[in-house]
């Protein structure tokens, strides 16, 4: 009885969400029709909950409850605050593309510096023509919601053979409290490209906001691409990101995710190896404290033979935080000679911390080598003792061991500068802990 009432209640709120935003959503009438359909799908499904297998450990109905109303376009004051946040989080030398409360801010971005090899459009512009970008390889409630509500994003295309000298950094800034921002970006990387794309999620004084982002990344043949994602949202924010990645032949893709913020965060990715001879390196670190909830859910789909995938994930969980890792490696019937490895480890620093791991293998080919490992545990007492015996205070000894623990994942970042930058983030997190 109660359940049915609650459903109707949240159902009504949900309809308001779309109705009140509809006038502000970019797109031709045909696009709006696609959005409406996506919204109906979302409305039918509702927010994911623990009875849905993929969301077993991240019950958005319990953790988030409701989707906040769409953020208004940023005003001058908001843009000014955003500029400061961008300054604080910009990576040296990177070409910045800034989205403020879900809207592309050209004035804060280095559009001209992108050069001739990179073409940039906004999602807003693209949707005036067609709704293609609103369609994805797979969908669930939050992805449908994103398709319905996405206000803006960057649509990048990197020309064949381009060797970019500087990273492109997409910075999502939140300036408004208690609202939702919906963004969707596409990055199409051509053949033989060498490029680094960084995504940052930061807050400019905003509190209790929600981010729902989607990224569609396609990498051509013979490319070498690094993709780094840094999540440093406000500690009471919600960030749900869905990624769709397709990798061509003989390509190297190096992905790294760092989560140090947000009350509730989830990165869900579908990575498809569509060309032979490619190497995938997917890594990440979750540093969680207080009551933070960090979820990494990845599907690596070996659709063709002769590919290698490596996943290394580390979670450090303090206080009453909760880390979730769900990784699945699929090896399709023809994908012989696949080599897939996945290793996930969780370090529990407090008695109330929780780590849930679900490493899955789904294998349909016989000539493959796949494996996964998962561990969960506390810091090794004997190692701590060793360090303390040499005069280090408890917290410092812990910090040293934690740094080594997460180091194994951070090491996988190929670019020296970015690796140092990420190590810096981890160090600051550990300092705050002390």
């Amino acid at each position: 009885m109660n359940v049915a009432l609650a459903k109707t209640g949240s159902g009504r709120a949900v309809s308001d969400l779309f109705a009140s935003a509809e006038g502000r959503l970019p797109g031709s009438p045909a696009v709006i029709a696609v959005r409406r359909e996506a919204f109906e799908t979302y409305e039918h499904l509702g927010l994911p909950h623990r009875r849905i297998e993929e969301w077993k450990y991240t019950d958005l109905r319990a953790l988030v409850g409701e989707v906040l109303p769409l953020a208004a376009s940023p005003d001058a004051a908001a843009l000014k605050r955003a500029a400061e946040a961008v300054k604080a989080h910009a990576i040296e030398g990177a070409r910045k593309l800034v989205l403020v409360d879900g809207v592309f801010a050209a004035d804060l971005s280095d559009v001209k510096a992108l050069g001739a090899e990179v073409s940039l459009k906004t999602l807003r512009e693209t949707l005036e023509k067609d709704a293609g970008l609103l369609k994805t390889a797979s969908t669930d409630a939050v992805i449908s919601l994103n398709a319905a509500m996405a206000t803006d994003g960057v649509v990048l295309s990197i020309a064949d053979g381009a060797h970019l000298s500087a990273p492109i950094q997409i910075i999502h800034v939140a300036t408004a409290a208690s609202v939702s921002a919906f963004t969707r970006s596409q990055v199409a990387v051509g053949k033989g490209v060498r490029a680094t794309v960084v995504e940052s999620f930061v807050a400019a004084g905003a509190k209790a906001y929600q981010v729902n982002d989607a990224v569609v990344l396609s990498v051509g043949d013979n490319a070498d691409v690094a993709h780094i994602r840094l999540l440093d949202d406000s500690p009471d924010a919600v960030n749900i990101t869905s990624q769709f990645v397709t990798v061509g032949a003989n390509t190297k893709l190096n992905f790294f995710n760092m989560t140090t913020g947000a009350a509730v965060s989830r990165l869900q990715g579908l990575i498809t190896l569509a060309g032979e001879g490619s190497e995938l390196s997917i890594n990440g670190v979750n540093l969680l404290k207080k009551t933070e909830h960090g979820d990494t859910t990845l599907v690596v789909d070996h659709a063709v033979p002769n590919c290698v995938s490596r996943e290394i994930f580390r979670a450090v969980i303090d206080d009453r935080a909760h880390s979730v890792f769900q990784g699945r490696i699929i090896v399709r019937p023809d994908a012989q000679k696949t080599d897939g490895k996945m290793m996930t480890r969780a370090l529990l620093l407090s008695d109330e911390a929780e780590a849930d791991n679900k490493p899955e293998l789904e294998i349909f080919a016989d000539d493959v080598s796949c494996g996964h490992g998962a561990t969960a545990g506390a810091l090794d007492d004997s190692l701590l003792f060793y360090l303390k015996a040499r005069g280090l205070p408890e917290k410092q000894a812990q910090a040293l061991l934690i740094q080594a623990f997460v180091g194994e994942a951070i090491e996988q970042i190929a670019d020296d500068g970015l690796r140092e930058y990420v190590i810096g983030i981890a160090e600051r997190w550990l300092e705050q802990r002390q």
Partner: protein, 498 residues
């Protein structure tokens, strides 16, 4: 790595078409009308001369079952089961009241002989008891409870067990003779409302074994039950309840076979184990139900709920299973580690061939302090089969010092089959230490290194380690079980894919 030729051939030899137990025994049976209703539940209860509390218990389960839906989360596919198209009770028609084993229908005895139930016990059935001192020490004594369709037809060694204080009898008898024990423990591990098939079982279970080992007693022999489905279109719903009281020990074996038929038959059993302080239960299964033919026609649907409760401190429950039969297996023998310092083990070898689908694994639920569990699972998929390991390891907030080690490996033979691993690992306190791995080379680096250093190849070393692990349990199985099982696990583990 692809499987070596030798392995492929060995698996072929045990392919579904080679099913040796597919014969049928022609015998008069007494059946309840097809379908399920309160009347059928009452009929079964009446047939068993059950007290009223048992009937009420069944009816409650039946009413609850009506409100439940079949689970669909497992990675198995099958046409919807028509629960009204099954006979829920089938029993060999007794020619007269059986007072001694000699009076059992010779056809049934022949069936068990054919199935290779140790002749020695058949000799026992015939009352040719060997003289004291003549016993062959190399051969262990095994007490057998033989369940034919819905009823237990014979239980051996009852007298000798009674001397030791061990109660070993069909559960239908136990309900009448030891109601206080049954009432106390039945449904206390797997509640009637546990899941769809467990609830169905609670309503219609017809027979099974009951074991009670009193405090401090080490059960003097292996206990075993041999399940045989013979009748067409019947479901077998057996219920086993084993209670090991303080400081006792019991080892229990279970074997299953069925005739070859084109229709699918349902087998939905419930097994409950209770280990009190310092008690140990070792439960071994060789499951060889008819797996269907090479076109995927027929075979048993094996939807089983098995759970052990380490209720007392320092108790231990160990599950060993060799799964080779059944068209579909849906089975997760689990341990609830409630007592402090209790431990649970799960050793499994699941081999699927033809069109078989296996979704099996275990649950280790750590609730007490300093509990430990170990999971070793080997899945081998061949033909067009799908073999899934699904397991849960969880440590409750108060389960300080919980320790788990899991290794689950799979081997694929041929490119039409699939092997899947779906482990859930939930650590809810910092002193829990969980290790999960799915690569053979990592079983134990030290041991492997030791073997390799002494001239064994990696392959031989892994084989040795894995066999070593399972062997101590297999050696406890009756001879023909062990031979069967050993034949199956001797399969090379080369090319494990995790």
């Amino acid at each position: 790595m692809p499987a070596v030729q030798e392995t492929v051939e060995r698996v072929k030899r045990i392919d579904v078409d080679q099913y040796r137990y597919g014969f049928e025994t022609l015998i008069d049976t007494e059946k309840a009308p097809k379908g399920l209703s309160e009347e059928i539940v009452k009929f079964i209860s009446q047939k068993k001369n059950e007290p009223d509390w048992m009937l009420q218990w069944r009816l409650e389960a039946y009413r609850r079952w009506l409100t439940m839906t079949e689970p669909t989360w497992a990675r198995v596919e099958y046409p919807k089961i028509d629960f009204q198209d099954i006979y829920y009770y089938a029993a060999p028609k007794p020619k007269k009241a059986v007072t001694s084993l000699d009076e059992i229908d010779p056809e049934i005895l022949k069936t068990y002989e054919k199935l290779g139930i140790p002749l020695r016990e058949v000799a026992m059935l015939e009352g040719v008891e060997p003289k004291v001192g003549e016993e062959d020490p190399a051969r262990r004594k095994i007490a057998v409870d033989a369940v034919f369709d819905s009823v237990s037809v014979a239980t051996t060694f009852k007298a000798e067990l009674k001397k030791a204080g061990v109660i070993f009898m069909p559960i239908s008898e136990a309900i009448r003779e030891h109601p206080e024990l049954v009432q106390k423990y039945l449904g206390s591990v797997v509640p009637t409302s546990d899941n769809f098939y467990a609830t169905l079982n609670s309503a219609v279970f017809s027979d099974g074994s009951f074991v009670y080992v009193p405090p401090g007693v080490r059960c003097p022999m292996e206990l075993s039950t041999y399940f045989r489905i013979n009748e067409r279109n019947t479901g077998q719903f057996e219920r086993t309840l084993i209670i090991a009281d303080k400081g006792s020990y019991v080892s229990y074996l279970e074997g299953c076979t069925a005739p070859q038929r084109d229709e699918n038959q349902l087998h939905a059993a419930v097994v409950e184990l209770v280990a009190l302080d310092d008690a140990e239960i070792k439960y071994s299964t060789v499951q060889n139900w008819y797996p269907g033919n090479s076109e995927g026609k027929g075979g048993i649907y094996n939807f089983v709920t098995k759970r052990g409760d380490c209720r007392g401190a320092n108790s231990k429950i160990s599950w060993t299973q060799v799964e080779t039969g059944s068209a579909i297996t849906w089975k997760y023998p689990s341990c609830i580690l409630r007592g402090d310092n209790s431990s649970g083990e799960f050793y499994s070898i699941a081999i699927s061939n033809g069109f078989q689908q296996v979704d099996s694994g275990t649950k280790m639920i750590h609730l007490g302090k300093n509990t430990s569990s170990r999971i070793i699972s080997k899945g081998i998929a061949a033909g067009k089969s799908q073999n899934t390991y699904r397991g849960l390891v969880t440590a409750h907030r108060k389960a300080t010092g919980a320790r788990n080690f899991t290794a689950c490996d799979s081997l694929l033979i041929g490119d039409k089959c699939g092997a899947h691993t779906v482990p859930y690992i939930e650590a809810k306190n910092s002193s829990a230490t969980f290790e999960h791995e799915a690569t053979t080379s990592k079983i134990s680096e030290d041991v492997l290194f030791y073997c390799i250093q002494r001239g064994l190849s990696q392959e031989e070393a892994v084989g040795l380690v894995v066999n070593g692990f399972v062997k101590d349990v297999l050696q406890q199985l009756p001879m023909e079980f062990a031979v069967e099982a050993q034949k199956l696990i001797s399969i090379s583990l080369e090319g494990s894919v995790g």
